[in-house]
């Protein structure tokens, strides 16, 4: 493995780690379900792809690489699908996106849920 691929792999891993955390912070802090879902699902897919790519560059064993690619394909297929199904189910279940910005309060999300 050359120095270059090592550096690229490290960059991917660190970027992926950053996206993991930022997505999770969004999941925790955003005001209502749909914004949380946006934060979580977008970063989830990209972070997974980055970290798995980073790991992919770390190994020379082709069996490991094939398995990593399969995991990546699987996650890239299922994660957005699950998010899509979940958002749709939430919308059908009567959960409305919160359209007005309630400044500085985390309670707004709970109110919109109480209406549902």
């Amino acid at each position: 493995m050359t120095i270059l691929t090592t550096y690229i792999s490290w960059t991917f891993l660190v970027l992926g780690g950053f996206l993991c955390i930022s997505g999770a912070v969004g999941l925790l802090r955003f005001p209502d379900f749909f914004t949380r879902m946006h934060a979580a699902s977008v970063t989830d897919t990209l972070a997974t792809a980055l970290i798995i790519l980073g790991l992919l560059l770390q190994t020379d064993a082709w069996m490991v690489q094939v398995k990593l690619v399969m995991v990546l394909v699987f996650v890239l297929l299922t994660s957005p699908t699950a998010s899509h199904a979940l958002a749709k189910a939430a919308l059908h279940g009567g959960l409305k996106p919160q359209l007005k910005i309630a400044r500085g309060s985390n309670k707004a999300g709970q109110q919109s849920e109480a209406e549902a």
């Binding site: 699987f74 297929l77 299922t78 899509h84 199904a85 749709k88 189910a89 059908h92």
Partner: protein, 332 residues
């Protein structure tokens, strides 16, 4: 402090927190989901402990199937815990606390974690680790122990699973008759076109992966139990997305029941064959002139039996549960 210790500590604390949350939460659907998280966490912990096969089982059974079965049950019984105001079982609390304290006291006498002198490392484990490759000829010592040295125990486990399937059938069989409601899948799930297409792409891959786990168990983590669960989960996915009546067309109920019995029969008959050849019950070296080759054959055969029984029993249980669910949904 190295990274592994940190990960272990975080995982174990998350495990405790999750357990407390499961006890405290009143929404049973949420509790079932947290139980799934609990399964994932303990599986990760097993991975950290290098117990790969156990982690495999825990991930597929603890985090996957048992959550699904809990959910099917909840869909029948209702979502919220009944809250009765003045139910305070003090005696039970004292007893449980006392038992817990005694158990913790008991662990103080145990050898420290990872000690080489611990009894478990001095009894049969070294023999299995040292001699199993020469005797059985497969790299994964866990499979050697499970399928060959302890083949009789595993036979018992398969029979237990089979019995569970029979029990579920005996209890829920009456509700099997299709009613008009069965023909109309829930409208909102009907619209999940994306889900259905992705599932159609995934199901063959899942089945293929199940086969890989089934026949790769001698070299890596896996084996009949895990493969059976993975195989069955493809059918669960199909029945959840396309409706139970559609899934019933794919999976013939009678064939499934016969296969469940055949799996156990296959396992048992391997034992009988080795008896006939003048060796002990389930001593696979009798199956071929070459002892190691016989072991291979025997392990393949019994793992196949395990896989068939586990798959079919899981399908029986799931279909019986969700079939009942669709029919009795109207009642309350």
């Amino acid at each position: 402090m190295n990274m592994e210790t940190v990960i272990n500590m975080v995982l174990l604390s998350l495990l405790v927190v999750t357990a407390i949350a499961i006890v405290r939460i009143k929404d049973l659907f949420a509790a079932a989901m947290l139980a799934g998280i609990y399964g994932l966490l303990s599986a990760s912990f097993f991975v950290m402990m290098d117990a790969v096969d156990v982690a495999f089982t825990e991930a597929s059974v603890g985090a996957g199937i048992s959550t699904l079965l809990m959910l099917t049950t909840l869909a029948m019984t209702g979502r919220f815990e009944k809250i009765s105001g003045n139910y305070r079982p003090r005696l039970a609390l004292v007893l449980v606390a006392l038992t817990g304290a005694l158990l913790i006291y008991g662990t103080l006498d145990m050898p420290a974690f990872g000690t080489a002198a611990a009894p478990v490392h001095e009894h049969v484990a070294p023999r299995y680790l040292n001699d199993s490759y020469a005797e059985i000829g497969i790299p994964n010592a866990v499979t050697s122990v499970l399928a060959s040295y302890r083949g009789f125990d595993t036979f018992g486990e398969v029979v237990v699973i089979f019995t569970a399937g029979i029990g579920v059938l005996a209890l829920l069989m009456r509700a099997e008759k299709p009613t008009p409601r069965t023909q109309t899948p829930t409208a909102s799930m009907h619209e999940h076109m994306v889900l259905r297409i992705v599932a159609k792409m995934l199901i063959p891959l899942i089945l293929l992966f199940g086969l890989y786990v089934q026949f790769h168990g001698e070299y890596g983590p896996g084996g009949g139990f895990q493969a059976g669960v993975i195989f069955a989960s493809a059918f669960f996915l199909y029945s959840m997305l396309f409706g139970l009546s559609e899934a019933r067309k794919v999976v013939n109920h009678v064939v499934v029941q016969i296969l469940a019995a055949l799996g156990v029969l296959l396992y048992g008959s391997v034992g009988i064959v080795s008896l006939m050849n003048g060796k002990n019950f389930l001593d696979y070296s009798a199956l071929s002139a070459d002892a190691v080759h016989g072991q291979h054959l025997g392990i393949l055969a019994i793992e196949l039996g395990v896989g068939i029984t586990v798959t079919t029993v899981m399908i029986i249980i799931f279909f019986a549960f969700s079939g009942r669910n669709q029919i009795e949904g109207e009642k309350d």
